[in-house]
């Protein structure tokens, strides 16, 4: 395979053909069946050399140039095939690739990429949200093991997790960033309890994880003891930017669906409805143009400009706004959840309105993001009453 000499368009053609030929069809309704179906797809993808666009080849990845990563994400989204499960690929994998030992890379990366093991995150705690360095889940060294005690929360897909990547305290209580260690914990180890957390939607998208004298081999520590904090924000090049166009494409589709729904319900003659839909139309286009600018900056200058820092705020504001607008415009019918015939489109807009409350909380609240933009992009001074970074 002469992938290195392939043009972007040739790659697109080849990947599109693969996705079309092997598309797994519709997802099974049953949860266990859906999990098995997803795993089968991820294994096929890996075995065919189409997994891990930004990963090194030696760990089963494709090591694509940035422009081909963009193509990959476009085609993947377009094909509507199952996505990798858990949050490992985007978050812990780059950390392992950069800071893991050779043995760890060999042991962890391929099964993660192939979908054999689902990795989930153990960062937030009930007492440590935005102030993550205040976390208290402790790891006490005993010979070749750590003994872990404490509680994590807001773990996405936690109940499916096989492996937990976690931040734990190995230093003193007051040590903050300088006493945090990065551990990889077997979700099936004695003393680990994962409980689904019922969120305000009524669903269970997140879990709480309890550690009660859980023994973790020292060999499962990434980096050195007390040196886990700087590893947290590792990313592989600009892999996240490569997928930025897809979010815009996804919301483009959702907006089109909302317009069609409101057309069917004869709401498009209302000038207020039209004005808000035009506002959303402009936002969804701005989202795409912002993503395109970031991609272009990376390709021409090697680094994204300030646009990349505001993209997430634009996206989260949009997803909250569109769902709430849909609920408001549907009127009382927008308040009804559940299966047909009474709920509009199975209550998707209502669910979206509720679900997207999390958009400005998870993965860094909108307030913390604004602080970061102000300090790191605009150069405003830090709050002197805040603890050091």
């Amino acid at each position: 395979m002469a992938a290195a000499e392939e043009s972007d368009e040739e790659f697109r053609h080849r990947f599109r053909a693969f996705l079309a030929e092997h598309h797994p069809g519709r997802a099974p309704r049953d949860n266990a069946a859906k999990l098995a179906w997803t795993r089968e797809w991820l294994a096929l993808l890996y075995d065919s050399g189409f997994a891990g666009p930004s990963w090194p080849v030696q760990f089963g990845g494709m090591d694509l140039a940035f422009s081909k990563q963009v193509v990959y994400q476009e085609e993947y989204t377009r094909a509507r095939v199952p996505r990798p499960m858990g949050t490992g690929l985007g978050i812990v994998a780059p950390t392992i690739i950069k800071y893991g030992t050779i043995e760890q890379k060999e042991r962890w990366l391929r099964p993660m990429l192939r979908g054999e093991k689902i990795w989930v995150q153990g960062y937030s705690e009930p007492g440590a949200g935005s102030d993550l360095p205040s976390l208290t889940t402790s790891a006490r060294r005993e010979g070749d093991e750590y003994v872990v005690n404490g509680q994590k929360v807001w773990t996405t897909q936690g109940s499916r997790g096989d492996v937990i990547f976690a931040l734990v305290r190995t230093g003193t209580r007051a040590s903050r960033q300088s006493g945090i260690t990065y551990l990889v914990i077997d979700a099936n180890a004695p003393g680990v309890e994962i409980r689904p957390l019922r969120d305000l939607t009524g669903g269970h998208a997140f879990s709480e994880i309890f550690f009660n004298d859980v023994r973790v081999p020292v060999a499962d520590r990434i980096g050195e003891e007390n040196e886990g904090w700087p590893l947290v924000r590792t990313s592989l090049g600009h892999e996240r930017a490569a997928g930025a166009m897809n979010q815009a494409a996804n919301y483009r589709r959702i907006l089109d669906e909302l317009v069609e729904l409101l057309r069917e319900r004869d709401r498009l003659t209302d000038p207020l409805v039209r004005d808000e839909l035009a506002r959303l139309e402009i936002q969804v286009r701005v989202m795409r143009l912002n993503a395109a600018r970031v991609i272009n900056e990376i390709m021409t200058r090697g680094e994204p400009g300030p646009t990349s820092s505001v993209s997430r705020l634009v996206i989260t504001a949009f997803e909250q706004e569109i769902h709430e607008f849909a609920v408001d415009t549907l009127g009382p019918a927008g308040l009804v959840a559940g299966p047909p015939p009474h709920a509009v489109q199975r209550g998707r807009w209502l669910y979206g309105f509720l679900r997207t409350r999390a958009s400005t909380i998870g993965a860094g609240t909108a307030e913390i993001q604004r602080n970061t933009i102000a300090e790191q992009v605009l150069g405003l001074p830090r709050d002197p009453s805040m603890p050091g970074r």
Binding site: R274, I282, T300, V310, R370, L378, D383
Partner: protein
Amino acid sequence: MSVSSVEEQEELRQLVRGFMEDKSTSADVRRAIESGAPYDAALWTTMADQLGLPGIAIPEEFGGAGFGAVELGIVLEELGRALYVGPYFATVVLAGQLLTEVDDPGAQKSWLPGIADGSLTATVAVDEESGSQDLSAVGTTARRADDGWLLDGVKSYVIDGADAGLLLVVARAEGELGIFAVQDSAAGMVRERLDSVDLTRNLARIEFSATPAVRVGAEAAALLGRHRDLVVTALAAEQVGGAARALEMAVDYAKIREQFGRPIGSFQAIKHKCADMLLRVESGRSAAYYAASVVGAGGTEAEIAASMAKAYCSEAYAFVAKENIQIHGGIGFTWEHDAHLFLKRAKGSEVLFGSPAEHRARVAALVGI
């Protein structure tokens, strides 16, 4: 049309920025506002002679550089940053682009070289006292005379209308819309400068009574629609430049102004405002650059992109200009501080050439909502 590379565009930007930082400082802007003269004639001549800026988007055969909306947008963005006071927008963006687009080689030959070399200032008069953006509201009429046409009616909100050397007036003639050129010396014309909010951009009301005019081109409705897209695209670039500068002012001030023993920029309330301002500046930049890159090709996508840029950048600039005043606190409310000049430019450009709501209505119709 000439095409510039990314490097050449960056050079152009730096050239214009450096020139404006030197020649259109805050003191220069204030002198131009308070002088009573419509603009600094020496600066205008230098912009033309040394930099060739008026001719940037005029075809080479008429003495211009032959570039398009992207390069014109770069110039406008920099002029917007500097709050430049002068005939550039009316002469180059309004009249220059209308004459470049019109199918009338005679008119082009008569006036485009003068615009390109800076010897002629000009403007376009479309709006009337209602301020309606709907061309069907045009009530000014043109009737045939022995050696040309005579105009009757009232135009208003005409940028540089009291001073421009050439007026291109939209009027109704024999049941269709036409463009009519009026010289500044024409008889039967009363021009009155309006006391409008934006001190850096002169607006005028003009009365025509049997004013002699020359017809330019033929039926003009489609041309005027297309021209409006070119104008609002250039205006969006100017808005982005002004908004970016207002954000810089706010950030610079928040770094040095101390209250409670610390810079106000260390407070989250100020940080969050600044982050929200950056979001709008950068998103506006995306919209404006995109519009500039596609408007030349025409068609539905150009129309959507132009209206989208005008709607978004108008609101972005107004937002940033208002927050800039808020962050400056009391000093931002004084006449001496420049913050109000940006607010007034923002509000003026938000309302002219169609409000954000009007442009959103157009976007909705164009995308099939």
